[in-house]
Amino acid sequence: MEGISKRYGGVRALEKAELVVEAGRIHAILGENGAGKSTLIKVMAGVVSPDEGRMLLDGKEVRFAAPADARAAGIACIFQELSLVPDLSVADNIAIADPPRRFGLIDRRAQRLLAEEALARAGAGDIHPRALVRDLPLSRRQMVEIAKALASRPRILILDEATSALTAADVAKVFAVLKRLRAEGLALLYISHRMHEIAELADECTVFRNGRNVESYKAGTRTDAEVVQMMIGREYSNVFPPKPQRSDDAAPPMLECRELGWGGRLRDINFSVRAGEVVGLGGLDGQGQRDLLLALFGVLRGTTGEVLVDGRPATIASPAQARSAKVGMALIPEDRKTEGLMLPMTVRENLSFAVLDRVSMAGIIDREAEERLIDEMVQLLAIKTAGIDVPVGALSGGNQQKVVIAKWLMRKPRIILLNDPTRGIDVGTKQEIYQLLRRLADAGAAILFYSTDYDELIGCCDRVLVLYDGRIVRELEGSGITEHALISSALNVEAETRGAAA
């Protein structure tokens, strides 16, 4: 790949990225969340087209308009978001792109054999080819995904976080398979956050940062600490409000969790947030942070353990209870387009949904009271809109996010949960949100804040809880919140590495 660039709106996901992958080698790609790794492989797999640059396969330039083109060229990709069809059987899925046919019709017996062989190659012979994908647990689905990629007999195999959902036993099997494929002369591209996996597998490594390839090196020639340094290597560009020094007060924490758990996805979660505190949730994407926020907000069923509000046990069985006056909780969701806003409706309508009970008498909305409250919020958050009767969908991403936040602030919540609120919005709005968070905390709110951006966690939070695999693995406090500490505990690498890096 030469000089590949891709922009989404004003955001540059890839900037003149280069990559060389050789047959018979395993090439690992490292980088932080949002470093451009996923975009890079989407380009290679034909899912997105690059804005500039070219791809060469065996020295010849290729262009993929659709995933089918990439597959025809011998590139198979195992994505993080699974590409399996839930209502088809395992065998149907494995053979989906090019099932064996006789007289133009799918030959089920041949397909069955093909699926069994592919499953065996992937080391997943325990999966029945007739089982529906919908009925399989995540780890089995991932194995089917691998078998599916192998069934197309690719020359280049790309694995994007393919092991993140697997059990240790499965990982060992997959590794054996990958090593055999390398011996067979395939080119493998392996993307993972797990350092020890890369150390075990990779022949070459390339580090990505801010959409560029920073450095390529032979595996084993760099220490973990050096790799972490390469992944960070950027200066602070965001301005954060100062953090106040706080003394221990005797009041019970506003929000406390004891032994909170949910299925296998959250385990032994213990923490507390005091009034006036901003507590961050860190770690790699998808380690249970989102589930934790949803559990607190009463969205998940079957959670175990205890949640205490103001030191008293609270039952929060639905979002309606969570936002009730007794609990006073608000969740600023991650996906504002589906969970936070009704895009075609106006700013006024979106904002007043959260407070209709407060501005209405006997079911009739008091338009004046509604307007006063809304004006107050629009000014507080400096929402740039042509008026409150403009559809929210017409605002910029940053202003949309402000509307989401305003919507919840209108209830004057005491406990505020935020799920990656600054993703995909511009720097200016980000800064306003940081300042707002601090103001809210100073006014006595307890804030729990999940972010995939380490700078934010460092700049905004009094404490940071790092999650790994549904568990809190580390708690960082005050000046202990550094980029090195965050990344190394997010990757769950050894304590000695942390010492060396610091």
């Binding site: 088809l88 019709l105 799918i106 949803l294």
Partner: protein, 326 residues
């Protein structure tokens, strides 16, 4: 799990539709004054196949997670057309048959083109085209009338060897010629895949557009076969709005009774056929019990509601409440 249990799981929805139909039909013939005679079966199947064809048409579209609200109107349009064309000598009749089936295909293809290339929502697109098809039917037959090749009509609505209803044989033949190849082709597989998860289907690089287009087009064809049969039974063509609307709505009911998921990706035409036959039998039950026909809509509605509720139990097992809305 052993092999047969997987088979059972795959066929469960279809078997349930067969079961519901068998039960209803048993009650029906047990209470019919004439009992189980070839004549009773012939009448029942002749009524049943009309809805069965329209339900088959609906199934193909529903599998892709779409819906076709014009099937009833294609059914009516082809009925009116057949009452002009399927007459005269053997040669003329044959040409007429092809013209009618071709019209069905064309109507379906238009639906498909609008949904795929116009990117309109199926529900709106097919309401609009349905109105157009009905308008054409009205132009063809402002008043009920026309005729049909009676020899052919009697043969196809009569009995083979004095026992088997010919209409059921045609239904089975259509299943063999249209459904079996479709369901076992890459196109049919893709129809299921895109109905179940269009993103996953796209990522897998399968021909989504081709599959959707085929589904809508074949739906038009199947609805026109239904329209032909309507002509064979009535010997006339009639642009009856109520009838067209009823067939469209009943086809959706039959499809759901037959275990086809309206969310797409699940179910089969076989299930929908039995769903259609069961739905028809439910309506006929009232006659054998000598109840007033006034009760029919209410009774059908209640039975349908009960049958459909059976499918909703899975929601109780959901752990993350956000999945209720996914």
């Amino acid at each position: 799990m052993s092999e047969w249990r997987y088979w059972l799981a795959e066929q469960r929805a279809t078997l349930m539709a067969v079961g519901i139909f068998a039960l209803m039909f048993l009650i029906y013939v047990a209470n019919h004054p004439a009992g189980l005679t070839a004549n009773v079966v012939q009448t029942a199947s002749n009524k049943g196949v009309l809805l069965a064809f329209v339900a088959m048409a609906q199934t193909l579209v529903v599998i892709t997670a779409g819906i076709d609200l014009s099937v009833g109107m294609i059914f009516i349009l082809t009925n009116c057309l057949a009452s002009w064309l399927v007459v005269g000598t053997a040669m003329e009749t044959t040409l007429g048959l092809f013209a009618v089936l071709g019209t069905g295909l064309a109507c379906g293809a238009l639906n498909g083109a609008i949904v795929i290339f116009g990117r309109l929502q199926p529900i709106v697109a097919t309401i609009a085209t349905g109105a157009i098809y009905f308008g054409l039917a009205l132009l063809l037959r402002p008043f009920p009338g026309g005729s049909v090749n009676e020899g052919l009509a009697d043969a196809l609505t009569g009995r083979l060897f004095g026992l088997i209803p010919a209409s059921l044989v045609v239904l089975a033949a259509v299943v063999l010629v249209v459904w079996v190849p479709f369901s076992r082709s890459l196109t049919g597989r893709t129809a299921y895949a895109s109905g179940s998860s269009e993103v996953a289907a796209y990522m897998s690089g399968v021909p989504i557009r081709r599959a959707k287009f085929a589904a809508y087009t074949l739906a038009g064809l199947l609805a026109s076969i239904g329209g032909l049969f309507l002509t064979f039974f009535t010997y006339t063509g009639e642009a009856a709005l109520a009838s067209g609307n009823a067939y469209t709505l009943f086809s959706i009911a039959a499809v759901v009774l037959g275990g086809v998921s309206l969310f797409g990706g699940k179910g089969s035409v076989i299930g929908a056929i039995f769903g259609a036959l069961a739905f028809r039998t439910i309506g006929d039950l009232l006659f054998v019990f000598d109840l007033e026909p006034l009760w029919q809509p209410l009774f059908q509605g209640v039975v349908l509601l009960v049958a459909v509720s059976l499918g909703a139990f899975a929601l109780f097992r959901v752990k993350n409440r956000l999945e209720w809305f996914g």
